[in-house]
Amino acid sequence: MNTHVGAPFATGPADAAGGLDPAGRSGYADHPPRMGFFTDTSVCIGCKACEVACKEWNSVPEDGIELSGMSYDNTVSLSASTWRHVAFIEQVVPPDAVPALGDDLAEPPAPRWLMASDVCKHCTEAGCLDVCPTGAIMRSEFGTVVIQDDVCNGCGYCVSACPFGVIGRRETDGGAHKCTLCYDRIVDGLTPACAKACPTESIQFGQLDELRERAEERVQELHNAGVAEARLYGENPADGVGGTGAFFLLLDEPEIYGLPPDPVVTTRDLPRMWRHVATAAVALLAAGLLSGLGRQP
């Protein structure tokens, strides 16, 4: 398993087609289909069973019992010790967006409450995996991204490389931690803890291509029902991270949920960075050696 530390520079939009098979690209000749999550936030009821089930199954320590003042969200964000995070967004719909119901209905519209369970995206082009210097972060045979805790030395590079702000470094043990897509469960054919616990099937686990089809149907269904703002997030293999293994159905702009609207994996630009570094280094070598020329004292 330790050899699957990434395919050097096998990234970029041109690779989008192969991007659907990150496990194959990482060297697994014969591997199971790519597995993932489809989180349909339109049916999330904010029960946080996913947060609890994840903590229980993965023995994730508590990470603060404080009131945030952010609606019912006292978890605040994904972190080293929060691998599922339910966001709560309270919105007052502006009057001009409310369908005209007649002047006799002058009552203000009820606030809209958005709830969404966020998780590691298990990117096709995973910045965290690319930059990890120890090989602790690896691609599993299911195409998911997993941190090997016994290898991680806590350098923190993955934390800053993640365009979604998913990974954190845990104060108590110094290591980086995130969702494993319950590797230890799916390798035995079980459903990840969060999806298993979800009472509304807001979190769906399965083969990624099947989930994508199901998600397309669900968006159509919602559009037909008049929910024009329903859109998928992360399902497109042509996006900046080659599509995500965990994708979402959202009812507003991604940034309202704390998600970046157009994330691009940083390593797409790395070949250009290396060329600039090489040019700069040669210039320094030349300047340094030339500095000795001229009048001898």
Binding site: A87, G154, G258, M273, A287, L289
Partner: protein
């Protein structure tokens, strides 16, 4: 879409400091104003300190080789000693900054060109011993042949050590670092040249410090130009380099660079002036690294630096697509 009247999740992009803005503040959506990205876990002063010391070491090794080739033994010995001292402190700072310092050796478990930190670890494990042997030989006079080979090896690897740290920062999702990926390598090596030249000016008597003065002036000049280009090209994200503590440090660095450059150019052959110029250029280089570090930290902490440029990119792409599909 619910439009502009959203009561929750909208905030006006505010800013600190009093400098003039190049672009008007934008309205953007966020989740309770919370950052999209995780805060940078790399510590102060360890990591920016390393950026400075690694650059100082790498460029000093080139200066040492140049001095040795042109028969300036004092300058060569001083530069080699500075290089090994700076890289030693760097190694300590880097190990201390790890979440699990006892596992530092896992850095050499794999070699990954997709990870600048992996490349840097291998560079440092080649460069460090070379710089050490070069300095030991210069200080003791033992094994001059091996000392020359080590001096050459350190001079070849040194610029890599000074430059790779730019890719280290730029290869992240942190807007102020990633967006500057075309300029940071040049900024970092010129800043390194300025610091190493400055150290030579500071410590070596004037009849031998000619190469240090040349390198310091070239480095400081290039640093000033690259910084301007970078700020000019960065657009909205440039604000992070111009405001708050990062802005103060970058400003101070610029003043010190100009002062050091002028002093070195006009009075660099006089001992007192050279000392002043050298100190100013070293300080400028350190301030630049701390400024760059803090600017990145600020852009990771404020969602506007993530959301607004990405929204603008989406809009640009939509406009381009509309233009491409409309008949010419």
């Amino acid at each position: 879409m619910t439009g502009n009247g959203r009561a929750n999740g909208r905030k006006r992009g505010g800013r600190a400091g009093g400098e003039q803005l190049m672009v008007p503040p934008a309205e953007f959506g966020s989740y309770y104003g919370r950052p999209v990205l995780k805060d940078v876990v790399w510590g102060m002063p360890d990591v920016p300190g390393y950026l400075f010391l690694g650059g100082l070491a790498g460029a000093s090794s080139v200066l040492a080789a140049s001095a040795q080739l042109t028969g300036r033994a004092d300058l060569a010995r001083t530069a080699k000693t500075a290089a090994v001292g700076a890289i030693g402190l760097s190694a300590l700072a880097l190990v201390q900054d790890l979440g699990r310092p006892a596992r530092f050796y896992n850095m050499l478990r794999v070699f990954k060109p997709t990870s600048p930190m992996s490349v840097g670890s291998w560079l440092l494990s080649g460069y460090g011993p070379a710089a050490g042997v070069a300095a030991a030989s210069a200080l003791t006079g033992w094994l001059p042949g091996i000392g020359r080979a080590a001096t050459a090896a350190a001079a070849v690897l040194g610029p890599g050590v000074a430059g790779y740290t730019a890719a280290l920062l730029a290869d992240t999702a942190v807007p102020a670092w990633h967006d500057a990926h075309s300029e940071l390598p040049y900024l970092f090596v010129s800043s390194a040249a300025s610091a190493a030249g400055g150290l030579g000016l500071f410590l070596v008597r004037s009849d031998q410090s000619g190469p240090a003065r040349n390198l310091a002036m070239a480095g400081a000049g290039a640093e000033l130009i690259v910084k301007r280009l970078m700020i000019h090209r960065l657009g909205r994200v440039a604000e992070a380099y111009q405001t708050a503590r990062a802005g103060q440090l970058m400003n101070a660095a610029e003043i010190l660079s100009v002062a050091g450059l002028a002093t070195a150019a006009l009075g660099g052959r006089h001992r007192a002036a050279a000392t002043l110029a050298g100190a100013a250029l070293m300080a400028s280089s350190a301030f630049t690294r701390f400024g760059v570090f803090l600017a990145g930290q600020a852009t990771a902490r404020d969602p506007k630096y993530t959301v607004v440029p990405q929204r603008e990119r989406i809009q640009r792409q939509a406009e381009d697509a509309a233009q491409a599909s409309s008949p010419a």
